[in-house]
Amino acid sequence: MTDHLPILLLLSPLFGALVCVLFGKGNSKNAWIVSMISLGISSILSVFLLLKVLSIKAGDIRYRMGGWDPSSGYEVGIELRIDILAALIVLAVTLVGFINTIYSKTRVPAEVGEKGPFFYALIQLLIVGLCGIIMTNDAFNLYVLIEITSLTSYALIAMGNRRAALSSFNYVIMGTIGASFYLLGVGYLYIKTGTLNIDDIHTYLENENLWTSQSIIVAFILIMLGVWTKMALFPLHGWLPNAYSYAPSMTGTFMAPLMTKVMVYVMIRVMLWLFGADFVYSEDSVWSELIVWMSVVAIVAGSFLALARNDIKKMLTYLIIAEVGYMVGGAWLNSLTGQAGAFYHILSDAAMTFCLFIAASIVIIRTGESRLNAFDGLFRKMPLTMIGFTIGGLSMIGLPPTCGFFSKWYLISGGIESGHWEFVVALLFSSLINAVIFFKIFERAYFGKIKGIKEEVSVADIDMIPAEGIKSVPASMLIPLFISALSVLILGIMNKNLFSWISNALKMING
């Protein structure tokens, strides 16, 4: 049965979603139990998958759907391919989904009411889509799965207030442009190679030596544009801040840590598996230089925009945009340390963004205030929440025991190795700005006075859920916060192991 782990992992949330729709009956409680069970099973299976991948020396597990063997060397069916990198991200996705489900227990009845079962069904289908994206080895299947994640996230975001619906509409437009560019790129590759399997496309391009063909270069640009739109790299980031900050809180906490990171993983996969390191880092092309500079711009711009925001969630979303710049830059550094750092940063960024978003959501819900003055004096009133927030914030700044420090360390050493000093400077600069942002908040939280009433009511506030008052936070919110804070620390402590796994896997791909 262990051969079928990858597909069982996907089927569990899929069946869970069907059960939620069929037997939910407007009752969020039943749907919550169902999704806890299905995502729990999925998380356990992904742990086993990781153990299995670590135990085999060959590098990756392949699983042929429908049992179709290749014909004259080319895959005719769809194939899954899981290596250590994929297994790690699958584990992160299912765990974040599971923990976020715990968090959503009290929030779903409060924010979406009778539509709770549909919410849980959509969340589980989103996890199916994300896990599928990570595991598939077929370029067109990847498109279908990208559309699954996009459609679920449009619906999940639009379940919020009226601003959420508007930002969801913008997300539909941008997301469709991104996915369509990806599809166009795959089409160009198909025209030139006649196959859709990622490994086969790479082999064909290698054999026919099509690297200088105009179509392949355009296909590469199109796929990159599509993936960048989906991950909100700086000039294409327009949809992200509003979508994530106006969405229902349990949607934001789920999507902010995962969506952009999975797309970064797709980018790394397209770079290294589909096109290959020789093409993307080739000496006579400008890709590497150009894109590292783009990521530098993204880091600096994201940090500045975050500094300028007064809204907690908006600020965090702009920090995500800066972090996307880190990962894209690291992946394009043309050094193994940089790639490994980018990959490590996917995991650590997922953990710390999750932690910060949960803490911020708790603060906003409890104080009814979405601006930074919500934090005034909170260390006295909500110490547990603030401890979680502090750990997340320290990791964002990059202080030693947390994972943020180690992933940044590898990124910086990758930058030094490959001589991209501008990237190193941008990283350090961004860390400085993060320190300014977070120490400003910590200062407010220590020394600020607690506000009595709000002085002005704006349009956005009318849409907000009324404050529930600063009182004891339910365990269903604190436990996820602590697990995520703990995972920030664990990922930091395990950095030696993680780094060696990641760099071994990357060495195998790079050949």
């Binding site: 067109f140 996009s150 449009y154 619906a155 601003r163 469709t176 442009i177 089409g187 025209i191 349009v459």
Partner: protein, 164 residues
Amino acid sequence: MDIIIASFLEDSIVPKFNYWIYVILMMIGLYAMITKNNLIKKLIGMAIFQTAIILLYVSVGVKADANIPIISHHGEKDHVEHAQNENLDSASEASSHHGSKKEHHVIDKNKFANPLPHVLMLTAIVVGVSTLGLALAISQKVHGSFGTLEEDEILDQLRPGGYD
């Protein structure tokens, strides 16, 4: 002169004409998605954009003198034709055809259009209509809370209190 124009048509426009039009349709759709003010118009642009991509894929699968990708099952005609062909070159290639006689007929891959792009585009059409339906639902929700489908009017409504 007519001959020159005709030969120009046949040599450089006609062979790539589908690809030219696909690019034009894609540009129309993309332009509408980016610049149109009305939400429904944006969605029409999106649908045109998606059909342009489908046009690219389907054009890839066309073969000059191919049929639809369905093997005619009760095709007595095919069978007879095939038998005649076999008679014609039976002297030279009788042995090579021997193995395939057990089947109905030998399948010449140039006689059928490439089925793979068709399959992919069935999926893409379905994804397109799903996106369109969901986007229409979202635009109805926007209309329900703002009372208009024009983007600039919506932004005007948000400006006094919105801070971003």
